[in-house]
Symmetry: C2
Subunit: 402 residues, 2 copies
């Protein structure tokens, strides 16, 4: 019994549900974006009728924008040129990186209808593409492209928080070898920033790919990585809780009031009782970006026996809230108590243009005054995911070395 449809027609017909027409006659005769062999990238957009098509993205020379909080770099713009019915733009040579972009068609900002690869950062979705570098130059291949190496398992796991009175979702990475044996592993707790959730590090941060690739290359120890949701009022990422499909920007309250930090040992207990973990202080690390850096700082200060490795990535090192929580009290004494226990690594990284630079300087001045040892890394740019991916790759090889 053979059917009368070809595979291709069958595939097209299979798409006939909600999205019919585009699947049948919308298939454009081009790739976009196309990463060229010389590491330039060509974008294409089909529209005979549009009067103007522009592109904006983080690979274009930035422009200064004035905000109530100062002058910041924002992504630049470029114009696509019309070539028949297809508009085109080719970039200069781009260094290996994950980039994002949107089109602006006759003044309307929109995503590339041909590129299904998108990413959400808080309330904004943009298209993404990867420039992976030269395959013949292994040191130049991007650590956060998917490579043909053994892959870890990524799970969405729910735990119950008594303190926050709800079931809450975590992302858990276990290394590829975890499923094969009975070994126990050290654990890194990796925390997102404001507007983020338990998906942020694995999606925007490419943590899964970075871990897979660095473990396969022998650059880091195999480890479990736990990425919780740091918004104390929430159960899970947008759309993943009984709140339904509400906008992420309605989900910000109670993020930095100390309640997530105070409740953190529940997460450690849950992980230690459901995964094959090593449970010494020397086998636990905590790191976070921005708000997650604030969490990492205050969790480690308030629970100084939990973590021997602490990473503050572009961290909000000051309190940033009116909370009277015990978590924020007697900070200097807590710093003294933490360093008296000689953490193996206290790592601080921040971008030169980060709006949190001043408070980081003040915190480092405190540590310097007291003679407490920490590692400090300063990178170009500001408060952006590119930096946090760099910091993760700097931080990981320093963990759990015996």
């Amino acid at each position: 019994m053979k059917g009368k449809f070809s595979i291709l027609s069958f595939a097209l017909l299979s798409c006939l549900g909600a999205t019919a027409q585009q699947a049948i006659w919308g298939v454009p005769p081009f790739m976009t974006p196309e990463v060229n062999p010389d590491q330039t990238v060509t974008f294409r957009f089909a529209s005979p009728a549009a009067k103007s098509v522009m592109i904006t993205g983080d690979f274009l020379p930035p422009q200064k924008i004035q905000t109530p909080y100062g002058v910041f770099d924002a992504p630049g713009y470029a114009s696509l040129q019309k070539n028949g019915e297809v508009w085109e733009y080719t970039t200069t040579v781009l260094s290996p990186e994950l980039y994002s972009y949107s089109f602006i068609v006759d003044s309307v900002k929109m995503n590339d209808p041909v590129n299904v690869h998108q990413i959400r950062d808080t309330g904004t979705i943009t298209n993404i593409f990867l420039v992976t570098g030269n395959e013949n130059d292994k040191d130049n291949v991007l650590d956060y492209a998917v490579q043909d190496v053994p892959h870890g398992m990524v799970s969405k796991v729910w735990y119950h928080s008594d303190a926050l009175a709800k079931d809450r979702r975590l992302t858990v990475y276990t290394p590829n070898e975890y499923m094969q044996g009975n070994k126990r592993y050290p654990v890194l707790y990796l925390l997102h920033g404001m507007g983020g959730d338990e998906n942020a590090w694995s999606e925007l941060g490419r943590a899964t790919q970075i871990l897979d690739n660095m473990i396969a290359a022998g650059k880091i120890e195999p480890m479990i990585v736990v990425m919780p949701n740091g918004n104390a009022d929430l159960q899970a990422a947008p759309g993943e809780s009984s709140l339904g499909f509400v906008p992420p920007t309605t989900q910000l309250p109670r993020t930095m009031d100390g309640s997530f930090s105070a409740a953190f040992p529940e997460i450690v207990n849950f992980i230690d009782s459901h995964y094959r973990t090593l449970t010494d202080k020397a086998d636990r690390a905590i790191a976070g970006l921005s708000m997650g850096g604030c969490h990492s700082k205050f969790i480690s200060l308030n629970y100084p026996d939990l973590f021997d490795y602490i990473g503050l990535f572009s961290a909000a090192v000051t309190q940033h809230s009116e909370s009277k929580s015990e978590i924020f009290q007697n900070e200097e004494q807590k710093v003294d108590a933490l360093f008296a226990k000689h953490p193996k690594l206290y790592w601080i990284g921040i971008g030169k243009d980060d709006f949190l630079m001043e408070e980081n300087k003040a915190y480092r001045a405190l540590l310097d005054k007291k003679g407490y040892k920490y590692t400090y890394v300063e990178t170009p740019g500001g408060h952006i995911w590119r930096n946090w991916r760099i910091y993760l790759r700097e931080f990981l090889p320093q963990l759990f070395r015996k």
Copy 2:
């Protein structure tokens, strides 16, 4: 130490990376879509400059479209009305369902920039929203909204296929209680259609929510559900393999040539050796939609001792390829051999307007002629996810009843 920024300004500044401007001054003063208490839905789009804003979606009266393969229903269109700077459209009362839509702004099709809830079906991304029904009428609440019930774990897991010579990705659902004890569970293997991948059933199919809700309501047995990638040439969903960010439509070859079906016992072996499964035929089910229905049919015919429950959802019951694979040979004898072993359930469901109706009729005629017992369900509509979600909810309660 308190910072000088308010939580809100801090949140906005945190978004300053690739997506700066929209996060700072693009936040619109409205909800869209807004599901009203009477189950109408209002859509809004901000543009003072647009000349025309339309909406297309599967909740609008369909329009007939002529294709080379016949006349099909496609989503209808409606116009938004300009009200100041905001365009608006309100639907009629909608029954509880997951719906999808796109805007068409001055002839350019685009997604709703304010709604981050989107879904990818093969090469098309559309916005989605849920009408969940009346909370006071529990039987009327949509089984595939996230409800406040214990949630299962969803994992992306890699296994090695010797037959297909690659590492490949699976989605595995384990019920909430799986982590709490040492019980063993029955397993449903749930297969996607052409253009789909290991993410399709959990995303488009809402399988995670359906399982959580039906297990919590005591309507189904707690079970493990395994959702493999049915494209024999591929390792994983778009963007998740070392192919990089290539378009899904380039990923269709070698889907229905028998190689995935022939290699299927490797997946069963992997699951049985890495999860706490029950391994009797009576504790295993297989079901799939469209191409996955083809796979389910031929896997169960060729390995008649593996599954006691078989579900063909809008299935491509004929071969649909030129393959000479052994998998497709001697079909009628294999049907005889399968039914001689008395499967507990052979379930066939299809939409009245499905383009695969004729071949399903022919296959049912064969079963009828031979007097083989099967369950048959016919629903309105065609080859669409709405039907597959309905079939999953019909199929699940019939599995693993002792």
